[in-house]
Amino acid sequence: MERKLKHVEIPSSEITPYNLYLSRRDFLKTAGIVSATAFLTACGLNLPSTTASGTAFPTGTPTQSPPVPDSGQGQTTDELGNPLNTLDQITNYNNYYEFSTGKEGVNPLSKDFKTTPWAVEVGGLVQNPKTYALEDLFKFEQKERIYRLRCVEAWSMVIPWTGFQLSDLLDEVQPMTSAKYVHFITLMDRAQMPGEGNPLYPWPYSEGLRLDEAMQRLTIIATGLYGQPLPNPDGAPLRLVVPWKYGFKSIKAIVKIELTETQPETMWNDISPNEYGFYSNVNPNVDHPRWSQATERRIGELSRRPTLMFNGYNDEVASLYTGMDLRADY
């Protein structure tokens, strides 16, 4: 009898403290309510604005747009007048296969992801290779940037990021003249990121940019959004944001940045090179080989809207690609 009882005993380390358990339940409850209201508001209120915006953005005609301001503090729209997506939308609909291939599965699975201590190794073809602790990176001027994020799956959001320009970091480590590309690598930690055990993907996640793309002022390393530290499902503690490229280029949970001479291997390009090019610039005129990229659904809206060339950042980034055939270099 005594033996039997001993057998079922649970070590105290495995018992969730009651207050933690309660707060979890509370979170789930509020999350449910918030998403319910978000959905209802989305249906009820955004319908007229959707139809209006349909006429405001004709396909493929990039109108002269104001440059993206450095400080979007307190603003409720991007520079084109698009309203921000809610924090609830931004943190509950994520493509982050390290945690889950289900977009709603990422949030719960990333809840306990450990982001401190965190270090980023910056090396390769640079004069001053350096490993930065997360805190060190806050010495670079933190800016607020409201960007549109366009996923290759044809949905999009408007997100108020905070972060620093990647160019500030690169200026400090000083790329050598032979450096042509920047390679980014995500944390590899199967214990925390269960998706990295999935053998159908060449882990760890990695991405790359041409050096001039990396130096462009719109390219940032985000450390937060909505004025708070970057939420786990969005790539905490720091991620790349390249707003004129499809979302998968904006790699999350970066631990390594390496300057290279040759074009680096990137994960989706490795999986399916004819579908996910190295450049992957948002381009309504060049379809993904399997689906159209001409339109997108803004999260929170009911009808589709036309996708803009370079995701609406044509004026600021088109010059990076002069003379290039964007159909060949997709």
Partner: protein, 230 residues
């Protein structure tokens, strides 16, 4: 030979289960809608769920014959029609959501997509096959069409393959190199192949022969059932 037995007005539990299963997914979607459990991209959420459920029912329809071969339970065969029609119901709703909610009845855009994009070409062919199958599913047509009914309904095989291909091609990943987000359609494909293998006539004969041998053996030991565990 058409296997039409005289209808006995008797409700079986398999029948009840089939119909509960048939309406459960829609009830679930409605529940999620009204309680705010759909994703923040609700149209796509509903659209993809309906499509997946349509494929599940299609595979369920094709599982009836192998299940009856394996277990010698002919009642599975009587549930085929209902399962097939539940598949068609979900596929139709899936297409309606695509045309209406997703593309806002922009028919020229829908037409362009359906003719240009492989996954949509494949899916559309599957739909065009399923329509006449659903229409001719009534007893009236079974009697009237005779031999041709079976010939026409043989098309469920290509329809199932194309539906699954449509699903796989819409995923981010590569079905042929087995990389990316293709695990689900891949496993469903294996299941479909297994179901096809179980239809090979010689294997079927062997299986039913094997089963009747088993049945004979158990009949020799009638007491065995009565022994209660101590």
């Amino acid at each position: 030979m058409p296997t039409i037995s005289l209808p006995k007005p008797r409700i079986t539990w398999l029948q009840v289960t089939t119909h509960i299963l048939g309406w459960l997914p829609l009830a679930w979607i409605l529940f999620d809608y009204f309680t705010g459990r759909l994703s923040v991209n609700p149209i796509q959420d509903i659209e993809q769920r309906l499509g997946r459920i349509g494929v599940y029912f299609l595979i369920g329809t094709l599982a009836c014959t192998p299940l009856s071969t394996l277990f010698g339970w002919r009642e599975f065969l009587k549930r085929r029609r209902a399962l097939g029609l539940y598949s068609f119901l979900h596929v139709s709703l899936h297409v309606m959501v695509f045309v209406d909610l997703d593309y806002g009845f922009n028919l020229s855009q829908v037409y362009a997509l359906v003719t240009e994009k492989l996954y949509l070409v494949v899916g559309t062919i599957a739909l065009l096959i399923l329509i006449p199958l659903a229409v001719t599913s009534f007893d009236y047509f079974i009697h009237r069409m005779g031999r041709n009914w079976k010939r026409l309904h043989w098309l469920i095989y290509p329809a199932a393959i194309l539906s699954l291909l449509h699903y796989a091609l819409a995923q981010k990943g590569d079905l042929f190199t087995l990389r990316g987000n293709i695990l689900k359609p891949f496993l469903l494909g294996i299941l479909l192949i297994l179901l096809f293998i179980l239809r090979i006539p010689s294997l079927r004969r062997w299986l039913s022969g094997f089963r009747s041998k088993l049945t004979v053996r158990t009949h020799h030991l009638p007491q065995a059932h009565k022994i209660t565990p101590g």
